[in-house]
Amino acid sequence: MKARSYLGFLLRRLVQALVVVVLSYTATFLIINVLPGDPITNMLLDPDNGFSQAEIAPIIAYYGLDRPVPEQLWNSFSRFVTGDLGISLRSNLPVAGLVLEALPSTLVLASSALTVALLVAFALAYGSQNLPPRWGQGILRSIPAVSLAVPTFIIGIFLIQLFAFQLGLFRITSPDSAAATFFAALALGLPVSAQIAEVLITNLDHEARQDYFAVARSRGLSRGALFRRHQLKSSSLPVVTMIALAVGELLGGSLITEAIFGRKGIGSLVQSAAAAQDFPVLLAVVALAAVVFVAVNLLADLVYPLLDPRLRRRRGTAGDAA
């Protein structure tokens, strides 16, 4: 009974996910087609060439860019469903290869940035509860607001100027080295850590005001034990939501961070594809991003019950009633 309802829940979410992916694919396609131009026309109309319209037409026709928009959308979508992502209009290379080549770098960057974000957020949160109120906590509590206020690219440029160019800790020409990845992850992770830290600190403060916490403290528990056993676990639920949302943040932020640190990843792929209106590439990445985002949120939904017994019970009750 319980398992069946869980399966139903999963199925419902999967269908929703599919709808999200299809809608984002269609929306992206239509938006690109509302805008004038395409990579082929732009290349041929470069002022260096002096081509006439008659010379350009057969090339445009070869790429199917002269067909009506619904037909183009249908062709593109029906290929996409069979797993054929098509060829980049800009580079003449298969899109699947371009995405696969860019993916590892972005996964490494995003997971490093998430690690950095969590470490910094939890360190700040711990400090905000356990350091001397005025000089420790006050400063720590203001850090998230500050790092949220500074745009990612400024943090990135600052880190590069200081650590790459002045101190020589990494080379801009080897962006995938461990040191370069660390600083890129720092640039990308700091704003995310701020969001997580703010939520975490608010929740910790809330728990610290509860009666059970005062009782626990009166039992003479150490600060560490208090924090771990009584404050942290109950404050972590919103953090899971934050992490799920942060994935979107990390994907979006990688656009800027990858460009500044010279990394070849999904972010820089999207950036150049968007600039060139290379829609086969854009569509593939948008679909991929939608899948990732939906999957992570689904995962978060599945993790909640593990952290909060109340959610488990509620689902159980609902399942029994069904």
């Binding site: 805008l35 004038p36 131009g37 395409d38 082929i40 026309t41 732009n42 290349m43 041929l44 109309l45 470069d46 002022p47 260096d48 060439n49 002096g50 081509f51 006439s52 010379e55 350009i56 057969p58 090339i59 070869y62 790429y63 060829i87 980049s88 800009r90 580079s91 003449n92 290379l93 298969p94 371009l98 080549e101 690219f153 400024i154 440029i157 600052f158 590069i160 100027q161 200081l162 790459a164 160019f165 002045q166 020589g168 080379r171 801009i172 020409t173 460009a259 500044i260 010279g262 070849k264 820089s268 792929l269 150049s272 060139a276 209106q277």
Partner: protein
């Protein structure tokens, strides 16, 4: 990158600058050629793929210059010298050319670069292959091309239906790179694959990542460089790495920090700082049109020569140089770059003379309105000016021009748009009077193609074939079989076009500027300012 971000990056970079400027300046005593060494070259893009003809852009063109050879080398004066074509014969009517190829030349896979391979390349430049989505090579004289056929393994004949003086110089164009026959015939989804695109150049591809980097290593058996380069045998440099760094200020800082040796295209405002740090700014002259506007005579008010001349004289070109550019840019004296052999000195026709502009406008019936903008028959003298999306300094230049024209009572509404929007709103739009041009060429015969709507003509001034004088000039240039008489015609064209104010030049066009370490020596530039690192070396 926008100005604010650049300024901030500069500020952040000041620390790095001060630290590094405390290092001792290096002595320049040792200039002897050194074997070995690696060069790192940073550029803003490598995204157009590695396909044929028009897929080669400014950035990939620089890489192609190292991995592929050309038939001839054309220098900054438009002079062609032997490369893969050691020498050539031309018939008196300039319709038939026999190319004699260097012997023993091979592509990097070992296949021979012979007459058949050259003929296959020329055929594809001339015609493209629409069945694989490949357009022809824009600058190639396709309209008169007939055939290219191998006579023997090392000789081929190229025939044209009409005199084609520009054929030989065009072979030095950065897109006219010789590729292995297997590379020419790749399937459409493999054309962009650099692993399969083979050249016969002094460097071969060690590794590459689309849109990000290309690592080249020298080819040990190379021994067929252009005669213009005084070096034989394999290249001296062992390795060249091309790496994309999008942010211009980070490219500049990386160069200052010694993490790169050459950087393409840094903002002119940063030259002084970079020079102060002992770096070299190389701005090779480039054959072609200067930066400026062609006038659409069908646009409202611009059919009147007095309005066109008023604009010509209202522009203060010195002020543009002083505000936007540096002393690396020379003043313009015609609409051709000053290194084009046929360029005339017509600076007087471009003199800044706002009083004359006002007089011309008065004569044409344009009287100042209440807000200073001139009015005639209830219409204000006002137009949209679109900054060229292909020239990074265009917006700044146009801002200065807008102010200058305002002073004589012409109102300019400056529009800054991306390439797609520009194509949609400017191409074929007879309401846009001034169209910015930024075109390089290796042979000034190209000028004949813009004048009218005759065969292969672009008709930039939109007279079609109604202007007898332009018709005559276009025919004379097209039928020329000798350079000297053609140069006479080209000089007359320049005078006529500038007197009629059909072309409004603004500044010298420098599209490829290299900021580099003073240790890099011996590089040679083509007539379109593309570098050849075959003869280069790094000082210790």
């Amino acid at each position: 990158m926008n100005t604010e971000r650049r300024k901030l990056a500069q500020l952040l970079g000041i620390g790095a600058t001060t630290l590094a400027s405390s290092l001792p300046a290096h002595g320049r005593a040792q200039t002897a050629r050194r074997d070995g060494g690696e060069v790192t070259f940073l550029l803003s893009s490598l995204e157009s793929g590695w396909g044929l003809n028009e897929r080669v852009d400014t950035y990939t063109g620089i890489v192609w210059g190292q991995i592929a050879d050309k038939l001839v080398h054309v220098d900054a004066r438009g002079h062609a010298t032997g490369w893969i074509a050691e020498r050539w014969d031309e018939n008196p009517t300039q319709t038939e050319f026999v190319l004699h190829l260097k012997r023993g030349v091979t592509f990097s896979d070992g296949t021979p670069l012979d007459a058949a391979a050259v003929a296959a390349n020329i055929e594809l430049w001339a015609k493209g292959d629409p069945s694989r989505g490949v357009g022809r090579l824009g600058l190639f004289p396709s309209s008169t091309y007939t055939a290219a056929e191998a006579i023997d393994a090392h000789t081929l004949r190229v025939r044209f239906s009409a005199p084609t003086l520009g054929f030989i110089p065009t072979l030095g164009y950065h897109k006219a790179v010789l590729r292995a026959v297997s590379s020419l015939n790749l399937r459409p989804n493999e054309l962009g694959n650099l692993t399969k695109q083979l050249g016969s150049g002094p460097f071969t591809v060690r590794s590459w990542q689309e849109g990000d980097n290309v690592v080249l290593v020298r080819r040990p058996d190379y021994n067929w460089g252009p005669s213009a380069i005084e070096h034989t045998g394999p290249a001296s440099l062992e390795r060249i790495t091309f790496k994309v760094v999008r942010d211009a200020s980070i490219r500049g800082s990386a160069l200052q920090a010694g993490q790169a040796d050459v950087v393409l295209n840094v903002a002119p405002q940063e030259f002084a700082t970079l020079r102060g740090r002992g770096l070299k700014v190389v701005a090779p002259e480039s054959l072609g049109f200067v930066s400026g506007f062609v006038v659409n005579t069908r646009a409202p008010h611009f059919s009147d020569v007095k309005v066109r001349q008023a604009v010509q004289h209202a522009i203060n070109r010195q002020e543009i140089l002083d505000t936007v550019f540096t002393s690396d840019w020379k003043p313009v004296t015609t609409f051709l770059q000053s290194n084009v052999p046929e360029a005339a000195d017509l600076g007087a026709l471009l003199a800044h003379d706002p009083a004359k502009s006002r007089r011309l406008l008065e004569e044409a019936g344009w009287r100042p309105g209440p807000d200073g903008i001139r009015v005639k028959d209830g219409q204000r003298l006002r137009f949209n000016l679109f900054a060229s999306p292909w020239v990074s300094t265009s917006r700044q230049v146009d801002e200065v021009i807008a102010q200058q024209l305002r002073q004589v009572g012409i109102s300019v509404n400056l529009q800054v748009v991306d390439i797609s929007t520009y194509n949609a709103r400017v191409r074929g739009n007879d309401n846009v009077p001034l169209i910015e041009i930024s075109r390089s060429f290796l042979d000034a015969g190209v000028v004949g193609n813009i004048l009218t709507s005759g065969p292969g003509g672009e008709d930039l001034f939109r007279y079609e074939q109604s202007n007898d004088e332009l018709n005559r000039y276009a025919a004379e240039i097209a039928n020329a079989v000798d350079r000297e008489p053609r140069a006479e015609t080209l000089r007359a064209v320049q005078r006529h076009v500038l007197e009629q104010a059909l072309f409004i030049p603004t500044s010298q066009l420098l599209q490829r500027i290299y900021v580099q370490s003073p240790k890099l020596r011996g590089e040679v530039y083509s007539g379109a300012a593309y570098p050849l690192y075959y003869g280069s070396w790094l000082e210790r």
